[in-house]
Assembly symmetry: C2
Homo-oligomer: 303 residues x 2
Amino acid sequence: MGTMPDDDERILLTPGPLTTSRTVREAMLRDWGSRDPAFAAMTARVRRRLVALAGGEDTHDAVLLQGSGTFGVEAMLGTFVPVDGKVLILVNGAYGRRMAQICRAIGRAHTVLEWDEDQPVDPAATSAALAADAGITHVAVVYSETTSGIVNPLPEVAGVVAAAGRRLLVDAMSAFGALPCEAQTLGYEALVASANKCLEGVPGLTFVVARRTALAAAAGRARPGWRRWTGRWTSTRPKAAWPVAPPATGATARSWWKACGRSASGRCCPPTSRGRSSSPSTRRPTRASTSRRSTIAWRSAAT
Amino acid sequence: MGTMPDDDERILLTPGPLTTSRTVREAMLRDWGSRDPAFAAMTARVRRRLVALAGGEDTHDAVLLQGSGTFGVEAMLGTFVPVDGKVLILVNGAYGRRMAQICRAIGRAHTVLEWDEDQPVDPAATSAALAADAGITHVAVVYSETTSGIVNPLPEVAGVVAAAGRRLLVDAMSAFGALPCEAQTLGYEALVASANKCLEGVPGLTFVVARRTALAAAAGRARPGWRRWTGRWTSTRPKAAWPVAPPATGATARSWWKACGRSASGRCCPPTSRGRSSSPSTRRPTRASTSRRSTIAWRSAAT
């Protein structure tokens, strides 16, 4: 693309959107037709790459959505929790509370376990809450509370959810790309994140990595605004890449692909945490992830 | 920005997304902080410009949303039609049918009047339907059916809706920026369109131009995914520019601003139709608007 002047370069010290590389932004300089086979193929590559980053090749698929992270969370909750389901929401910050707000708005039964904003959620209390209410079908938790930087003990929460035979939904907004999000280890039903946090893409896209069986079971549940997941999404037909509307920020998607294509390791967890099992006894609550710090982890994972 | 190589230039002959200018795309080369006062100010300018394009300065406001056009339509229907309201949907193509599908999904009572895909909707039949059902509170119509190119007689439909004392909701997706969308003449409660049709912006943003009184009345009705309209949106506080999540595709919004800033005339209708009233007797159903033709109209309006 040649050398561009840097007079508009600035560093964003926000938890997201974050600073993107010039390479990522320059990928938006081309228009893409949303029904173009080349665009469909690119979309398929992005989806495969996201599933690979989550280590879910054998079990999971990735669904792309235009919109904000909050929109992705709403789509995930509304699509995977059936109308006769009930969600236990673990809350220790603004994004946990927002999940409760969303469930109220879209009419999904839910109950909330809440902790102070400077405390991680507690797996033991979660386990007790599940034991006490057989009606709970799903557990929803924020992995990294963007507002406070608290990282919740996801592996331990995943363990108690699995032990209780319930399904796990994860808001990994400021975690995916920096913290371990292994589908096999964590066994989540679905995990939502967005392009403009630790993947360092431009804003405007959100995505859900979901168990294929859950996608199939949710057929018909996704609303127009959330897109018609399942079926066409999981199809291999080229036109199936973006269902319903011809939507897709082609340029944005391309830019996103550039961003997530930087992962040489192919998995979205830092090498330091990949080899080691995250033993509950040695894991402590961490106040870690401003996105810049996550980014550092991501970069070290990618080299 | 200097000269860029043109090897990736291509013309999209689709009804949208359409080809964008290099100037518009290059506006995406800068990162914006979503809480930056400069970004809030730009957002405010975009909103004002959209209201001006619709000629609604005295009565209407503009709300920006990340997402596809379908998402914007869902947000409009769900926000402005109360749960005890009822929508008459005029259908003569895929996007009319989609509004009915959305109403079913979000639980809004509705009734459908349908015509063949090569026929415009009929104001007289609309009037009769309104007379026959006092429970109908709103009428929803697609201005230009993108799939067929049929332009519906919006001024005449607006006339019968106003005469019957009901409220008008317009999907102007492939019309806004090319066909007259005057808020004062048409008196719509709300009109939805997107950045990537006749405004020639990049995809990813949709917007609703809505009567201020309707925004106030809808307080509390907007859902998290649709954003919390009203209140904060209509506030002049800088932070109010993008409520709820720090969302905004800064780069995309900037690009959009570049696109809609090209209108020298300040209104989104071609000069040929602005000076003349659109008399029902002389207006005929037109099969006009592929987006490229709309674009030509828009360009001639802008010079």
